[in-house]
């Protein structure tokens, strides 16, 4: 079972404590929103859960394995094979076309270029961005950028999708499309989704919300 769990996690940046002994558990297939005011530790929790960062104390478990003790290489491999990650503003490689951006994870995984490109095109089609496949990021609108970023996160069919303010830079309607794309694909693969957001309307797409305040949960609210 691909349960994701943080136990008594603490993380500080210099003198600011981002997380102070936070515990949270996310079941497989769940769609969970992490909300809270700015500076409450939302993004840090996502970084710890996804193995991007290691907490100073506490444990992070994924699929019955403790991942915060793994070394960087092992965590990188885990992220590449099991997780998909979407950030605000897409953060695509500016010099590559949309389809090349989407194909990157497969290329890094050692797949051939033609195969990777074909699969990437299919995913762009799925994301409704087939028409901008050969455009570079600078030529895309915010919504298109984000769809390409989502396609890039989905191409490896991840078990868990992490999204950090995926609609932060978009207007409501464009944001809605990106979210339904992300969540639709997740439901098809019965993937877990963890969304960090400050937008309550985005949080309403989730089955459950984890409210953070000053680095701890303010009470989990079950659906």
């Amino acid at each position: 079972m691909n349960t994701l769990e943080a136990r008594q996690v603490e993380k500080a940046f210099g003198r600011t404590h981002a997380l102070r002994g936070l515990s949270a558990k996310i079941e497989p297939g769940e769609i969970v929103a992490i909300t809270g005011p700015s500076g409450s530790g939302k993004s840090t929790l996502l970084h710890c859960l996804s193995g991007i960062m290691r907490p100073e104390t506490g444990e992070v478990h994924y699929a019955g394995e403790r991942i915060d003790t793994l070394d960087e290489a092992a965590r990188t491999k885990l992220r590449r094979e099991h997780f998909g990650i979407v950030f605000q503003f897409g953060r695509l490689v500016p010099e590559l076309t949309a389809v090349e951006n989407v194909a990157l994870p497969l290329l890094f995984d050692g797949h051939g270029r033609e195969e990777a490109t074909t699969v990437a095109r299919a995913w762009l089609e799925e994301a409704g961005a087939a028409d901008v496949a050969d455009a570079r990021p600078a030529e895309l609108s915010g919504g298109q950028l984000q769809r390409v970023a989502v396609a890039r996160a989905l191409i490896t069919s991840p078990k868990v999708i992490f999204a950090d303010e995926p609609t932060g830079a978009l207007d409501s309607v464009a944001g809605e499309r990106v979210l339904s794309l992300l969540l639709g694909a997740a439901r098809v693969n019965s993937a877990t989704v963890v969304i960090v957001t400050h937008d309550n309307r985005v949080a309403a797409y989730a089955d459950r919300e984890i409210v953070l305040r000053d680095g701890v949960t303010a009470g989990e609210v079950m659906a």
């Binding site: 409501s172 309550n200 309307r201 309403a204």
Partner: protein, 176 residues
Amino acid sequence: MSIGHILLGLLTERPKHGYELKREHDERLPGAKPLAYGQVYATLQRLQRDGKVAISGTAQESGPERTVYEITGEGTADVHRWLAEIEQPAPFISSPLFARVVLALVAEGSADGYLLRQRSAHLERMRELTARKSSAGASVGELLAADYALHHLDADLRWMETARQRIDELTREIRA
């Protein structure tokens, strides 16, 4: 906003009978409080008295015979006058939410618990609305209604978060 204006607005399309008006009101303004037939009937009579609608005939479908009303020139002018005006932007704060937060502070010394419970209730309602919005075959009216409600609930939630932070700050100041 008055029911008279809504009925007049619906009549600008074509003449309609009372039951039709009630049905269209409920369909086009989904989520609004449904209109009672008696209310429709009384309003139509008042509009007729003021010369804004007139009886144009009767219609019989599969039920009883029904009186069909049409809008008059004066009625049309009234609708457009109404649409040219704006809604008074929230002249009074009459939200029970606001009252509860203040009274929770007065009676219990803290609104934290209440705010958290209310947040979860609000979010639950938002989830319902979001699910309805995402379901296949949602009409434009339903989408607009859901968006409307979602934005208002969202505004409530944001106000609640601000309230929590303000109360926190004040408490800290008093303690310090």
